[in-house]
């Protein structure tokens, strides 16, 4: 219950943000933190709660992004109507990859490699077929109005991503307090024991990857609406996959608030290092990398783990 209270408080604070903060920079930073949180929450469902480490979550991100962009650009479908279709396509892609890899018992690094390979295949496909716009990508036409999901200010986008992140929080909370979540944690800790206790391991894993992919595709949808543009490298490239896993690992795997803590920390660190060494190219990335190595070494259970230890 304390977690639900914290989620509610957090939502209210962020929702009130535009009333007090008018700086575009600050609102953009808040949006990017929430956006990174959403990607982390998606990955955390499958890897943190389910122990299945994907290295190709870009597959679901890109599928959500392209599904909405293609509908909006080619068929003139309203963005709000494209949203459920994008999420359904992402979940279907998740179920497809999950069915293939879990049916054949792929675990650990093999599962990670298969997801990476699928994302790469889709990147090459998106580069070669017409309806994705090939390597040129798709550009959303500008039609500014809330009915088109093209808000005049940053506040509208902040509310949109906040709604997605809230959904991510509720999914994470539900996984901690439901039978499905208990089964998923059992599968993560010992598949054999779980099966002996009546858990249908295959179906639980399939449900987890579909749920994870659905959240991830919402991230892809948001990206397209916010930046009005998508191309194969952004959609299916490894950068998004890495972005999705860094947050939860730094913040705390399999926790409700880990993805948010990680995302906030990494975004702020990114801003800081960019400003520190603005002139020397690459220096900021080196600092960023060193801090990340330090975190993984000294905080194996992430920031959430550190807070839990302090609290105990």
């Amino acid at each position: 219950m304390r977690e639900l209270a914290a989620i509610t408080a957090l939502t209210i604070v962020v929702a009130l943000l535009p009333a007090f903060v008018t700086s575009g920079f600050a609102l953009n930073l808040a949006i990017m933190v929430l956006y990174t949180t959403l990607l982390g929450q998606a990955w955390n469902v499958l890897a943190g709660f389910g122990g299945q480490f994907s290295f190709g979550h870009a597959l679901f991100f890109g599928t959500g992004a392209y599904a909405s962009a293609a509908l909006q650009v080619h068929l003139g479908v309203n963005a709000w109507l494209a949203l459920p279709v994008a999420i359904a396509c992402g979940a279907a892609a998740g179920a497809f990859v999950g069915a293939l890899s879990f049916r054949y018992g792929l675990r650990g690094s093999y599962f990670a490699l298969v997801t990476l390979a699928f994302a790469e295949v889709f990147r090459i496909l998106a580069n070669s077929v017409a309806f994705t716009g090939g390597g040129v990508g798709l550009l959303l036409p500008l039609k500014e109005s809330a009915a088109n999901l093209q808000f005049a200010g940053k506040a509208g986008f902040l509310y949109l991503i906040l709604a997605f992140v809230l959904a991510g929080f509720l999914v994470s909370w539900w996984l901690k307090h439901s039978r499905f979540g208990a089964w998923l944690a059992a599968v993560r800790d010992s598949e054999e024991s779980a099966a002996a206790l009546g858990v249908d391991v295959f179906r639980v894993k399939l449900g987890a990857i579909a749920l994870s992919a659905a959240l991830m595709s919402a991230g892809g949808f948001f990206y397209v609406q916010y930046f009005h543009y998508i191309d194969p490298h952004i959609a299916y490239g490894p950068a998004v996959s890495v972005e999705a896993l860094l947050g939860p690992i730094a913040g705390g795997l399999g926790t409700v608030f880990g993805p948010l803590l990680g995302a906030a920390m990494l975004q702020l660190l990114g801003e800081l290092t960019r400003n520190l060494a603005g002139d020397a190219p690459g220096v900021s990335l080196v600092v960023y990398g060193v801090v990340l190595i330090g975190m993984v070494t000294f905080l194996p259970r992430g920031i959430a783990g550190l807070i839990a230890r302090r609290g105990a």
Binding site: S178, A182, W183, E192, A196, G198, V199
Partner: protein, 248 residues
């Protein structure tokens, strides 16, 4: 209740089980014994659905369940423990048991409440301790509690007493007996002979993948083939002569 008919299974060049047939009667405690590598755990894996036999069938409550997946068998009423315990290490004792309790209870609260009752039945305290921090004896009880929480009709116990000291063994015996008295049929693999003699109504003996004897414990203890399986060829004969010499 459980009937194994002519089950054979082969791993490469090793015939792990060779035409094993046995029946477990409802309501009792049946033990399966045999030297290391005799195929006891393999037989359990076949019965619980983790391995499909090359030949033969398994019948549970009159139904052919050969090759049925473990989670389905569990839903039909067969629960098992593992010889090498596999607790959900990152979870508490209560959460571990609740996984089994969830089989018949969708509600999280009910499953956690049932987990507490089961823990009490097997004498597990410290419900909020992480499974990773339990002693060997407590892990064995946890393994038993999880299986019991699924509400089985038939409970397969794979060496729940192994690695325990005599005091701990003595403490678990009444637990197993109480499970039997509650109406759960128990089929157990055990090396601790004191426990087998104490608990079991029927004992089956496996050696090199074949069933070599079956019957009441007292009869098995004096069976020449069983003694030879454990102590080597000719051991029964030597023991008999030594006993006669002592009497003379």
């Amino acid at each position: 209740m459980l009937e194994v008919r002519g089950v054979s299974i082969r791993f490469g060049g090793v015939q792990a089980l060779d035409g094993v047939s046995l029946a477990v009667a409802a309501g009792g405690i049946t033990a399966l014994i045999g030297p290391n590598g005799a195929g006891k755990s393999t037989l359990f894996s076949v019965v619980s659905g983790f391995l499909a036999p090359n030949a033969g069938t398994v019948h549970f409550l009159g139904e052919d369940v050969t090759g049925v997946a473990p989670h389905r068998l569990c839903r039909m009423g067969i629960a098992r423990t593992f010889q090498i315990v596999q607790p959900f290490a990152a979870q508490t004792v209560r959460e571990n048991i609740a996984v089994g309790a969830h089989l018949a209870r969708p509600s999280r609260r009910e499953a956690l409440a049932h987990a507490e009752r089961v823990a009490e039945r097997v004498g597990l305290a410290q419900l909020d301790k992480l499974a990773a921090n339990l002693t060997v004896a407590a892990r064995k009880r946890l393994e038993l509690a999880r299986a019991l929480a699924t509400g089985p009709k038939l409970l397969l116990l794979d060496e729940v007493l192994a690695g325990l000291n005599p005091n701990e063994v003595a403490a678990v015996l009444p637990v197993v007996r109480a499970i039997r008295d509650s109406g759960v049929t128990v089929f157990m693999i055990e090396h601790v002979m004191q426990a087998v003699m104490n608990l079991a109504d029927t004992v089956f003996v496996l050696n090199e993948g074949r069933l070599i004897a079956g019957g009441p414990p007292a009869q098995i203890a004096s069976d020449a083939r069983v003694i030879e399986a454990y102590l080597g060829h000719g051991a029964a004969e030597r023991l008999r002569r030594a006993a006669e010499a002592a009497h003379a």
